[in-house]
Symmetry: C2
Subunit: 254 residues, 2 copies
């Protein structure tokens, strides 16, 4: 039985708490947050505390707070004998340097409150300073059907950057599509099969090879017609820049 204390109550902390809940081999023994109100929804399900001095004994402390609070929390909780890990994509393992056994347990997924991710495949980027602790993180990953990847802090930063492109920026393009539909009294649902197919395509072929559309066809008359249809300056700039980027990358590499 691996005893875990989770520090934090945001989207990732909540996901991890719920994911470990049914596990028989990993038990969340306590949840910490500095604000009592954020803990109220966990009460009755798990012991909670607002004091770093009252942290329960555990095998693993999972720090799942805002990136810039990680250093502060690890210092305030003091050096532990247990393994102390954070769950951030962007923060190097060294930010936990005051801990003898430190690590990273970063779920490469997008989490929103009120949306069930449990039981979906989640890649976990794992890193430790003591090689023997990798087994522990892999065991925790497999308990929640995650897919373990050993990834250094340096590479994890790059993955986090890639995630911004393929998740956050992609989502903004979806929002632009939604806006265009709304402005024209069209249901956003009409775009969904296209959106799904665009995603499904890349599960077995390279997106670079898949590129379609007026930009790669150098169909300048359609490009010009589209630019005339766009009212928003930001959207016009996005259209121009991505069109140019597609043409440049394919001009270079084809």
């Amino acid at each position: 039985m691996i005893k875990v204390v989770i520090l934090g109550s945001g989207n990732v902390a909540s996901f991890l708490f719920e994911a470990f809940h049914p596990s028989k081999n990993v038990k969340v023994v306590q949840l910490y947050n500095h604000s009592a109100s954020s803990l109220s929804r966990f009460e009755g399900m798990v012991p909670v505390t607002t004091s770093l001095e009252d942290l329960a004994d555990a095998d693993v402390y999972l720090i799942s707070v805002k990136d810039d609070a990680i250093s502060e929390i690890t210092k305030m909780m003091g050096a532990k004998k247990a393994l102390v890990v954070h769950t951030s994509g962007a923060v190097p393992i060294d930010h936990l340097a005051n801990q003898e056994r430190r690590g990273v347990f970063y779920p490469l997924q997008t989490f929103s409150r009120n949306r069930e991710i449990v039981n979906k495949e989640v890649p976990f980027c794992l890193e430790v300073n003591k090689p023997e602790d990798m087994t522990l993180l892999k065991q925790m990953t497999s308990e929640i059907s995650g897919i373990p990847f050993e990834v250094s802090s340096e590479k994890r930063k790059k993955l986090h950057l890639a995630a911004v492109f393929v998740c956050n920026f992609v989502n903004h393009l979806y929002a632009i599509g939604e806006d265009i539909c709304r402005d024209n009294d069209l249901p956003f649902e009409i775009l969904q099969p296209l959106i799904r197919e665009t995603t499904e395509k890349i599960s077995d072929t390279s997106p670079f090879e898949n590129q379609t559309g007026p930009a790669i066809r150098k169909d300048q008359s359609t490009i010009n017609a589209h630019l005339e249809l766009i009212n928003s300056d930001d959207n016009k700039e996005i259209y121009q820049l991505l069109t140019r980027a597609i043409q440049t990358s394919h001009g270079k590499k084809l």
Copy 2:
């Protein structure tokens, strides 16, 4: 039995040919292309011709050629008694003005050769100049399990624009993610669950409401760190522009 002649042999024409193939109520009676070599892979399956003067009799002529060739083809084939439709997202119905019964049969989907789309849901944007012909196009749509939407030329242009954002531009962002993985010896598969979840999220919630990431959090230290990691000038500009666009749209509307 609806008899159909398909003019063209590109991705959309091929999709339509394959989609109608198993249908008992719609029969593709001929395939036209100006070049014989593009027709070779259809020979044996359907009568083919390279001459617009030899077009077979049909109830519907489906013009599925490059946008800027549609006007020329409809003139060269001459006025028909049958319904003549094109399959383009961007071309107004008026480009078929020499035909008495004209229409649009635009599948809002991305097609690549060698990739099976048949039997997946495809929204069809339908338009006709004679209201009684709408029934015919709806019947053809339902024969291939498409989802029919009546959409004017004006709105179809906007949808086509939206499709560029949510498909072509999204795909380029995937290609950037793939590049970052390749440059760092990471498997692109590690990003796939995130990509899938980002898409699945918007099947039941608005992408605008779903926005996550450093831009919307105004997490300037992560944004700066990311910008330092990006080598390509285009990618840096895309990062900056989309970050600003996310912040502007949420600043305005939240």
